[in-house]
Amino acid sequence: MKNDTNVKEELNKRTSDDSGKKKSLRKSTSKKIADGIIFTLLSIFSISMVLPFVWMISTSLKTPGQTRTSTPEWIPDPIIWTKYVEIWEKAPLLTGFMNSTMYAVIVLSLGTFFTALGAFAFAKLKFPGREKLFLALLGTMMIPFPALMIPHYILFVNLGWIDSLLPLIIPAMLGNVFMMFFLRQFMNGISDEIIEAAKIDGSGFFGIFWKIMLPMIKPAIAAQVILWFMNVWNDYVGPLIYLHSPTNQTLPLMIANFNAYYDIQNDFPLIMAASLVSMIPLLIVFFAFQRHFVESMNYAGVKG
C-alpha cells in the first residue's frame, strides 16, 4: 500500500514536471496545425464537389450566346430567368411531374404496406416452409435487372401494357425484398411476448400488425422509404423501354429526351434549367429527411 502511494506521488511529480508540460503543449499545437491544414483541404475539396451544381445554376440563368465564352463566367451578366418559363412550354414537363408522382405514390404506399405485412409474417407468424420461402425471396435480390428487362418487355407487350405506367407500377407495388429483409431483421429484435399477450387479449393478426408492430418499426420504414423513393424517382431504364408517347413519360425520360433534342441546338441553359427543376423533389426529400438519410446509410453499412 505504502509503495503504491509512493509510486503515484512520483508519477504526479513527473507529469507536473516542466518538460512533460512542454511536450504535451507542443503536441497539441502540432495537432492544431494539422487540424487547420485538414480543415482547409476538406473545405477546398467539398466546395469543388458542389461546383458542378453551381455551374448548372449559373448556366441556366444565361442565354445560349452567353455560354459560348472562352473563360468560365460564374455570375451571368445579365441574369436571364426566361429559361425557367420556356421549359414548361417546350416539353410537357408538368405531365412528366404528374406521371412520376403517380408512379412514386402508388408504388411507395402500397409497396410499403405489402412489404411490412410480409416482413411481419416472416418475423412473427409460424407457418410451414417459412425459412425456405424467405431464402427464395432473398435470392431474387441477386437477379440483375438487365436479365429481367427482356422477358418483362415481352410479358407487357402481351398484356397490352406498353406505353402506360402499369409495367412500372404493378410489379414494384407488390413489395421490395430488400426492405422486407431489413424490416424482418428489425422485427426479430422485438420481443414475442407482446404478440402473445395481444393474441390472448383477442386481437386479430392484422390488428397486432397494424396497432402494435407498425408504430414500433416506423423509423426503420422511414429510412427505407426514402431510399426507395430515390430509386423510383431516378428510374430511367424501365421508362426508356416501356414509355413511348411524350405525355406518358416520367420526368427523367422526358428530361433525357429534352437533352438529346436541344443538345444539337446548343441550348445548354434550357437543358440545365429543365434538369435542375426535375431534381427539386429529390432535393426537398433530402433536406426534409436529412437525418433519416444518414441513419439509413448507417443501418445498411453496419449491417452489411
Binding site: P72, P151, F293
Partner: protein, 296 residues
C-alpha cells in the same frame, strides 16, 4: 384458452401468414422467377419479336463469344471497374480527415453527399455539358493549367475516363459516410496504445485504420462491382451510339441495343444471362478471396 382453441388459432395463423406474404409471392412468381426462366428459354431461340421461336440450343451463346462488339462492351465494362479503387481510396482519406473531430463536419458531409441524392439523369446531362469540347467547364479549368482542350466524349481514349470521373464524383458521398460509420466503431484505446508506443500517423493508419476498415472495404467492393457491371444510364445518355468506335458501350448497353433497337430478343437474353453469370462469378470470387485480406 383451451387447447382446442389454441390449435384452431395456429391453423388460422398459417392461413393468415400466407395471405400476408401473398403479394411478395405473386411478385416472385410472376415478375421474378417466371420471367427469369422464360428468358433462359428464349436465349436458346432465334426469336426477334416478329418471327417464330426456333430452338437453336446454344447458338446464341456461341455467336456471342465470336462477336467483336460483345467483347468490346465487355472490355469497356471491365475498364469501368477501375473507378472502384479510386473512389474507395479518396473516400477513405476523406473519412479519416472527417473523423478528427474538427468543426464543420456536418456541412462537409452534406456537400459531399449532395451528388448522391440528385437525379442520375440530370447529373449525367450536367456532366455532358461540363465535358463539352469548346465551352465545357472541365476544359476551361484545364486551360488554366495550360492543358489543351480534350474532346472528352468523342475521343475513344477519353470517353471511359470521363465516365469514371462522373461515377467517382457521384459515389463518393455513400462510401465516405459508410467509412465514417466504420471509423467510429474502431476503439479509441487502440490508437492510445499506439501513441504510447510512439507510432506516427502513417503507421497508425497502416496498422490500425486500414486493417479495421477492411470489412467495410470488402462490402463496398462487392456492391461496387455488382453496380458497375450494370452501368448503363450514363453511357446511354452521354454516348447514345456507344461512343466513338464503340469505346464506351457497357454490357447492359449492348443488351439494350441488341434487344430493343435490333429486336434480337433471343440473342439479347443470352447476353443478359452471360452478364448475370459474370456478376455471380465475380461475387463468389470476391467472397472466396475475402479470407486473405479482410480483417476478421
Amino acid at each position: 384458452m383451451s387447447k382446442q382453441g389454441l390449435s384452431r388459432l395456429s391453423q388460422k395463423e398459417k392461413w393468415v401468414a400466407f395471405l400476408f406474404i401473398l403479394p411478395l409471392l405473386l411478385q416472385f412468381a410472376i415478375f421474378l422467377f417466371g420471367p427469369l426462366m422464360y428468358s433462359l428459354y428464349i436465349s436458346m431461340t432465334d426469336w426477334n419479336i416478329f418471327g417464330n421461336k426456333t430452338f437453336i440450343g446454344l447458338d446464341n451463346y456461341i455467336d456471342m463469344i465470336q462477336n467483336d462488339r460483345f467483347w468490346r462492351a465487355m472490355g469497356n465494362t471491365a475498364f469501368y471497374l477501375i473507378g472502384i479503387p479510386i473512389g474507395l481510396a479518396i473516400s477513405m482519406v476523406l473519412a479519416v480527415w472527417m473523423n478528427r473531430g474538427i468543426p464543420g463536419i456536418t456541412f462537409f458531409r452534406f456537400l459531399i453527399y449532395l451528388p448522391v441524392v440528385s437525379s442520375i439523369v440530370a447529373i449525367t446531362i450536367l456532366w455532358q455539358w461540363m465535358y463539352n469540347y469548346e465551352f465545357g467547364l472541365i476544359n476551361h479549368v484545364l486551360s488554366n493549367f495550360g492543358i489543351d482542350p480534350i474532346n472528352w466524349l468523342n475521343n475513344r481514349n477519353w470517353v471511359k475516363p470521363a465516365i469514371i470521373i462522373l461515377g467517382v464524383w457521384r459515389g463518393l458521398g455513400v462510401s465516405t459516410i459508410f467509412y465514417l460509420a466504420a471509423l467510429q466503431n474502431i476503439p479509441k484505446t487502440l490508437y492510445e496504445a499506439a501513441d504510447i508506443d510512439g507510432a506516427n500517423f502513417l503507421s497508425k493508419f497502416r496498422h490500425i485504420t486500414m486493417p479495421l476498415l477492411t470489412p467495410m472495404t470488402f462490402f463496398l467492393i462487392v456492391t461496387g462491382v455488382i453496380n458497375t457491371m450494370q452501368i448503363f444510364v450514363e453511357i446511354q445518355i452521354m454516348t447514345p451510339a456507344g461512343g466513338p468506335g464503340y469505346s464506351s458501350a457497357s454490357i447492359v448497353f449492348y443488351i439494350w441495343q441488341e434487344g430493343f433497337q435490333y429486336n434480337a430478343l433471343g440473342y439479347a437474353s443470352a447476353a443478359s444471362w452471360m452478364l448475370g453469370l459474370m456478376i455471380f462469378i465475380l461475387t463468389i470470387f470476391n467472397f472466396a478471396i475475402q479470407k486473405r485480406w479482410v480483417h476478421q
